[in-house]
């Protein structure tokens, strides 16, 4: 039986994706049906990598990080730095450090490729097998660099580390944070999910034949692959007693593994089902208590079928769900965080996003998937994220003013 989670107040949150920078812009894009995907013309080193796919690349990351953060300079950290200053998150994190004391604020950062683009660039400029002097491995490529930057930006001195579990990273950070608070190691945790484009990701997914040549169509009968995206999102989680005015709580989280195959999900979504049921148990809830499910919904043939079957087994026909990757693309290690923030937008604004590009829902996927957005107040939402290696994570967020569970 899954342990009951300690509900944590979400005292600040933000997300920046191709569809919008910050919560307001993202919500507007969701309401307007305005996608952030464009034909791929990624050109980090001059030559254009015109892979036949659409991607959600984020503009405006040309400026290097200012001092004293220069050593951390790489695309991933530039994106993190730009994003965390929106919606008051950096300010809130610094205030939490003041309020709780630096040692009581932890940082858990999800990323899959970190500063890999920077390393790719350094290899292109290598001379006699040596990389340029300017390349800072520990503050760019190494997976820890984001956590270290965030700790330095906020002044947090509690445990700071990276979770890197491919496409579930940005979701699993929430569960890790709950453990830190429940175990008495922290009173507040800044969780993050940041991932950015690089050649390895682009050509790697292409070689796996997982990229769609069109904007992705989650859960469509004709879906034919994913659209990659970039993203950066953050949430500040605190003990409820310390944040009585918070509007949203993380009510529970569930995690599981598929133990099936490294790059294909369990065909019936058994691991996904486990993660969802564990998240509900952790929150003390029944499936019928959930008003909206944000699907992982990558638009790969395999994921949407497996996830759809699993969602239908758990929630039946009653609970509306959607995939928002048609707006943001699949932001890999950031996806779980982007979609946690989108799920929270649904709670805050009484708006359930539809599924962009879904024209002909695949009946084989079974789950009730919204094509269009719906104006509706819901009290509790669930968000799924699944990754390579068969790693599954589900989160439940609830309005703070509604009893979180039995």
């Amino acid at each position: 039986m899954k342990r009951r989670s300690i509900p944590l107040a979400v005292t600040a949150h933000t997300a920046t994706a191709a569809a919008g920078a910050g919560r307001g812009a993202l919500l507007q894009a969701l309401r307007d049906g305005r996608s952030g995907l464009r034909p791929c013309r990624f050109a980090p080193f001059g030559e254009v990598h015109a892979v036949d796919t659409w991607t959600g690349d984020i503009d405006g990351l040309e400026a290097p990080l200012p001092e004293p953060w220069q050593a951390f300079d790489c695309r991933n950290n530039r994106l993190a730095y730009a994003a965390i200053r929106r919606d008051g998150v950096l300010d809130a994190a610094r205030a939490a450090v003041d309020r709780h004391g630096a040692w009581r604020v932890a940082v858990v950062a999800g990323t899959s490729t970190s500063g890999l683009l920077e390393a790719e660039g350094a290899y292109r400029r290598a001379v006699d097998g040596r990389l340029p002097q300017s390349f800072r491995y520990d503050k760019t490529l190494n997976v820890q660099s984001l956590a270290e930057l965030l700790a330095a930006l906020t002044g947090a001195r509690g445990p700071a580390y990276a979770v890197s579990t491919a496409c579930s990273s940005g979701s699993k950070v929430f569960a890790a944070a709950e453990r830190l608070v429940a175990g008495g190691l922290a009173d507040a945790v800044l969780v993050a999910g940041v991932d950015s484009q690089c050649l390895t990701t682009l050509h790697g997914f292409r070689s796996l034949e997982l990229l769609s040549p069109r904007p992705c169509r989650p859960f469509d009968r004709d879906r034919d692959g994913i659209s990659l995206g970039e993203g950066a999102g953050f949430a500040l989680l605190e003990r409820r007693e310390a944040a009585p005015g918070a509007a949203i709580v993380l009510a529970g989280s569930g995690e599981s593994s598929d133990a099936h195959h490294m790059s294909a999900p369990h065909p019936e979504g058994l691991g996904a089902e486990l993660a969802m049921r564990d998240a509900l148990d952790a929150a003390g809830l029944e499936p019928g208590d959930i008003g909206y499910v944000n699907l992982h919904g990558t638009a790969s043939r395999a994921n949407d079928l497996a996830e759809g079957l699993a969602v239908h087994r758990v929630f039946g026909d009653a609970v509306p769900s959607s995939s928002t990757k048609g707006w943001t693309g699949h932001a890999l290690g950031a996806a779980g965080m982007l979609e946690a923030v989108i799920a929270m937008l649904a709670l805050e604004h009484d708006f359930l996003p539809g599924t962009l590009n879904l024209a002909d829902p695949d009946p084989a996927c079974r789950a009730r998937v919204l094509t269009e957005g719906v104006e509706r107040r819901v009290d509790r939402v669930l968000s799924n994220s699944f990754g390579f290696g068969g790693t599954n994570s589900s989160l439940v967020f609830a309005r703070a003013d509604v009893a979180a569970g039995r």
Binding site: S112, A126, D138, T165, G204, S256, G389
Partner: protein
């Protein structure tokens, strides 16, 4: 403060193809011969996965298997925590080098093996566990971070957890800026209660930075500094010698994870 017991240990290191060999060496009963160890068996991996598995995965599965067998635990029922500073540095080097020449035909298998959590994914397949698995990184403190999260899970959920830490060198240009020496893998099964009377009890405390605990033997001390997983050596030495110890592990530049090891 968190508390747990060590009910099983697995190890792979230079010239150390298993925990019994490491125990002999750490007790001073056998000299440490830095031989290139035979390839880790990773017997628990199904043949198709074993063919595709990276060195890191083979080490992780091998040491986890050893620890789980020693603990007499049922691996399919256990969550796992995997740690590495960079789990597949050889693949990262290979792909960066290929891309730098203008070639874009990355191997799909090598690509999906490049994710930080790929050893953990293979481990889950090997033991058939649907329990949660996480993969962490914290640069030179990766093992400390994993110890922290694993101990938290044991304390909160009251069930055993497998911790696996594995680090190997970067070949090529990245190896010149990130010198990791040797291939080390360590696995610990941590449980809320002891199984055997001499199972060590660990207590963990996170706090302000203190100098990391060093080892008296010069070669062991060098190994500890040369490989992030080998940062666990002072704890392993205490376990091998059945001695009590207070071990300070670096946890980032400003903090320390103090691990007290008690026997009996």
């Amino acid at each position: 403060m968190m508390r747990c017991h060590v009910t099983g240990v697995g190890l792979w290191g230079p010239g150390l193809p298993g925990w019994p060999a490491a125990v002999e060496m750490l007790r001073g009963q056998a000299p440490w011969v830095h031989a290139d160890a035979a390839r880790p068996a990773a017997a628990a991996l199904p043949p198709a996965e074993r063919r595709r598995a990276t060195q890191a995965t083979r080490v992780a599965v091998t040491v986890a298997g050893e620890a789980i067998a020693a603990a007499g635990a049922d691996p399919s029922s256990m969550p796992s925590v995997f740690a590495s500073s960079a789990s597949n540095p050889d693949i990262i080097d290979e792909m960066c080098a290929m891309l730098a020449t203008g070639r874009h035909d990355l191997s799909p298998t090598r690509f999906h093996n490049s994710v930080h959590n790929s050893p953990a994914g293979y481990l889950g397949i090997a033991v058939g566990s649907r329990q949660p698995s996480t993969s962490l990184g914290a640069f030179d403190s990766s093992a400390a971070a994993a110890l922290l999260d694993a101990a938290l899970q044991v304390s909160l959920d009251g069930r055993p957890v497998t911790l696996v830490s594995c680090d190997l060198p970067y070949p090529g240009p990245l190896g010149t800026v990130r010198p990791v020496l040797g291939t080390w893998g360590v696995a610990l099964v941590l449980d809320g209660a002891a199984h055997a009377p001499d199972d060590a009890r660990l207590t963990l405390r996170y706090g302000a930075h203190r100098p990391a605990t060093t080892l008296d033997d010069a070669r062991l001390e060098q190994a500890r500094l040369d490989n992030p997983t080998a940062r666990l050596l002072p704890i392993l030495r205490a376990l091998a010698c059945r001695e009590d110890a207070d071990v300070d592990l670096d946890f980032g530049p400003q903090a320390t994870l103090t691990v007290t090891v008690r026997h009996g």
